[in-house]
Symmetry: D2
Subunit: 348 residues, 4 copies
């Protein structure tokens, strides 16, 4: 932490600031200029983050030095984290092969889920997404099938062998959802739901952590730190668009977050072009952009009949559109030095 | 809902769109222009909100008509809602008298809480704020005293007669917190934490609902609708600043949200200038601005020694600064046609 | 400027950084910690702003110290600047009396301008606003009457004695506009139009500088610095709403900018609630909020028949609404320790 | 334009609204529901844009239908516009070959410009960028070499055959700059500088129009419309990052703007990853992302010694980094179905 004093700050005030920092066991170093002084504090940034320095007489501004996250930081790990999903032989997120996660926004019934799973698996998706508990802006909107949706996901997982990604919203549901799914998704609205983060941190199931609509990169990594610090090392980060003044797309896809995260953390980073775009026709170019920027994979919404979907149908890809996406992405994956999962026959 | 078609849309496509809407039991009305057609849908806006119209062939854009919230809408109530807090004789939020809520960010111990309560009560605050469970960006920051904090709040409430406002973050804690507090605060990060909203909707304790950092007015009112639709009619809304590109204050105080909310809802609206400002010296002018714009009260952070605070000390008012705020606000309250609570002697 | 190095930076790299700074004639001071070093640079912040420190090996982050503006800074002036408008006996912006500036968005003709001027003058406005050159998003929208508008403004000024505020968009027009008007308005879109700022900096006419839609406070003050540094000391700053994700009002009125500016600069600060609100019904509460926050006045749009206005009619106040605004604002002005201009009889 | 009325609007009010629209020669169509009516207005959207409908009694909301731009719209042109630069045999922006534009932020002198031009040309850039007139936030920052910079650009153009892109800020300079350069750049700060747009619209030199920091796609296209409607058909659009709450990169690269623009306009679209990133190490991934999303090219800053640059050195690529970028981009260009300019020998 660097502390800069205001013009006119007295030596006594400077000393009080230094004493306050020293009381935390942190050394300080003073540089005095003509109008201001600079106090460098060398030590545990976590302790200093809580110190209300601006409330102290004479302090004009502060500059945090170092990262407030530790377990999530690049320096913490010897190499990039690879998250294995669904047991031995299952897909790995963060390796050379791109993670392709696809499926409906909501689980609406057995038939549509099975058909979608078969289709996306046949075209190269290795993980199935589908919501059982849906966070909806309106209390009157479809809230998901709940437990029934979980059962359907588990059944299709058993049939197809595809590991399942599904959202958990309530800390009371974590154990139950973990029994039925292979990846616990924390939605954008819950990125700073700390009781929920702590609970998935206690689980032994990988976590897909989506960036909040107005979360900074630092806040995203601190949210991951909540999970990591509880003992769960398997966190996958996801850029899914942020909220800005721009409205031509549903959210603003912050593709720059991908290389920034790659330079800050060892955790895998995927993108969600469906929520970023908000309409199906922009999903593919955003997926390509994410891969080109260095993402480890993508998660997209696919529905047999988007116009009949119970939620987020505007942004769902048809089966044909998903095929086009997978056809198109191959060359970008290769350009990025990555491989794609092999397509499998629908009955394999 | 108004649906506008693209140039070149066929009569068959238009008919399919109309059939889809009609299947929900909603009538449509068609206007055909030279290049586009307009389909007016008259009926329950809630049903239409879920319809993925943009996924249908020929749809160019849609315009929602009417409000997606009902119980929270101005039209729903015959008059402005007044929320009574803490039982008979307790303060009312939303009446002629401004609600003044003050206290420390976090409950740090019995002495500081008692001293703060005495002081702010003596200067006109009628409700005491204080956090026992703190949502902190970093897992390494002070997380509040938890249950011990709740006990301290209840004790000071018993001593001073001041009703208590405190945050609840975990749906599992709602009953327990409601046993110790008079108003359940939902923090900005949890504005769209739906399991939590449902749980406080089941409680019989007033709710203070803070606007999320990137929440629109519509989203805030839909969050209130989650609570109201579960049977809890006592929701107080709070503007506390939004996240924008501007960084001269911690958040951007969206003072315009006050008159907008007043024209949209019957619920009381207060402001939180402490979190908006982020530094103590701007708290008073923002409080004044909020009252001038029509707010029903304000909630501010006060600490005996801000420079020693365990959280948010930068924005905490000293006792003297709180006195200055109360001295200054009187004339603005009067200009706004409102009264202030009478100051009471510290030992009353 | 404070420079923080990355972990692993070598002593040679640190020396190169120090040498680079020293080459500008600026002294450095080094503090070495366990993983990082901090280099304090004491001297002219202007010179350092241009230095591409992040392009130097080993530099992790930098913290500017001090303000990049000088003439605009609070420290520069012994007291708050009062801008006299329209010659001896004319209104002063920045004094005890609030500046009330009112008139139509665009000058549309002699009759509407005269009627509006008479009305707002009779209710307490001391300056007349009206656009002759209009910056319009679309090239097909009404662009203002141009020179004819200027002539009309000058004529009404002569009749009523009200000084005139009007926008100048083109550096080639500055002299011509200054011949017809008393305050040169720089619109939000032109806040960083440097040739235009330089040109009005050469003029001897006060400048009303509106904050850009996405301008920080620092950028606004640096734009003022362009004008001041060319020799024109009479700059009035104006907060008129910024662009954010929030759309319930046309722009987000950043009322917190008022106290921030007051703590940073000696220049007068007014607010424009008309452009912030975008609809007439929110103009008054935003004006009240601005005055409560400490503004030196406000500028509002008034039109005899808003529904017939050629530009921005949605946000124009009717004559009655302007009266209500002036009735309401009196108590807030008084609460803020300010006076209002006396109302004059329409024929005075 | 669709007009929706408020509950309780009278038939007389509805008739007045229809009459007002009809007075513009535009037909209306009325649909009456249980609480609201919908008035469809079929006709010239440009005329309606100016109508202050919200100022009319009974109007609740409006939905613009159709695009306010015409010449810039996709529907206007039979095929994508290809902008030829620098005369016969010169590069084309918007064709199968990606446009690669590189060079220093500012022209600082003959030697650095010549060396940079030689290098980037040798690695595949076909256009040279370089600023002579620099828009700088501070009046005390280096403002460019001005006329001397123009002369140097023209000299290097003559030597290398590379067409030159340079910014023009002042409408008085347009003719002079056009004499020395092949593409007139309108910077982000000037996207809505209408006198300047009109002036370059009169020129016969292609225009590179950068998106403003807080400009919507619609506003960008309307800015292009200003140029097009003056007779200059050669407009190249450029996404260069927008201003949001996110600060990990200098601006937020809105890569989604690329496919949105491609679906709205026939004009070529390039990206500027240098200004979006703000630091050199993120320039390449953003360039790759832009190409993957469908951009027609990119413009990047390259400097022989970024740490010595007089402006924007933090984001300038070294010669080596530019080589890496060009090496990396080849596969992405191919994946996007585009070609790259052939590299030429430095002395060719």
């Amino acid at each position: 932490m660097i502390i800069v004093t205001r013009p006119g700050t007295t030596p006594e005030q400077i000393q009080r600031i230094r004493d306050r920092v020293a009381a935390l066991g942190i050394q300080t170093n003073l540089s005095v200029g003509t109008t201001r002084a600079v106090i460098g504090c060398i030590g545990d940034v976590g302790k200093l983050a809580d110190l209300p320095l601006l409330a102290m007489a004479g302090v004009e501004s502060t500059l945090p030095v170092g990262r407030p996250y530790k377990l999530a930081s690049l320096a913490f790990a010897a190499k990039a984290t690879e998250v294995s999903v669904g047991g031995p032989g299952g897909p790995v997120v963060g390796g050379a092969e791109l993670a392709v996660i696809a499926g409906p926004c909501s689980v609406e019934g057995p038939d549509m889920l099975r058909r979608t799973a078969d289709h996306v698996r046949g075209r190269g998706a290795r993980l199935l997404r589908g919501g059982a508990f849906k966070p909806r802006t309106s209390p009157y909107a479809f809230q998901g099938l709940g437990d029934e949706g979980l059962e359907l996901l588990a059944a299709v997982r058993a049939e197809t062998g595809m590991p399942v990604v599904t959202e958990v919203m309530d800390p009371r549901d974590v154990g139950h959802v973990a029994d039925h799914a292979d990846v616990l998704q924390i939605g954008a609205r819950n990125m700073q739901n700390y009781p929920l983060l702590r609970e998935v941190g206690e689980a032994r199931t990988p976590v897909l952590l989506k960036r909040g609509l107005s979360a900074t990169i630092k806040e995203l990594l601190l949210a991951a730190e909540y999970v990591l610090s509880r003992g769960n090392p398997d966190v996958i980060l996801c850029e899914r668009g942020i909220r800005t003044f721009a409205t031509a797309t549903r959210n603003t896809f912050d593709v720059g977050a991908v290389p920034v995260l790659k330079s800050e953390t060892h955790l895998p980073v995927i993108v969600d072009p469906s929520h970023a775009a908000g309409v199906a026709r922009y999903v593919a170019p955003l997926a390509f952009a994410g891969i080109a920027a260095g993402a480890d994979g993508f998660i997209v919404e696919v529905h047999p009949e988007p116009a009949e979907a119970l939620s987020d149908g505007n942004q769902a890809l048809t089966f044909d559109a998903f095929e086009d996406l997978m056809d198109g992405v191959a060359a970008f994956a290769s350009a990025a030095g990555r491989t794609l999962p092999p397509a499998v026959s629908a009955k394999a």
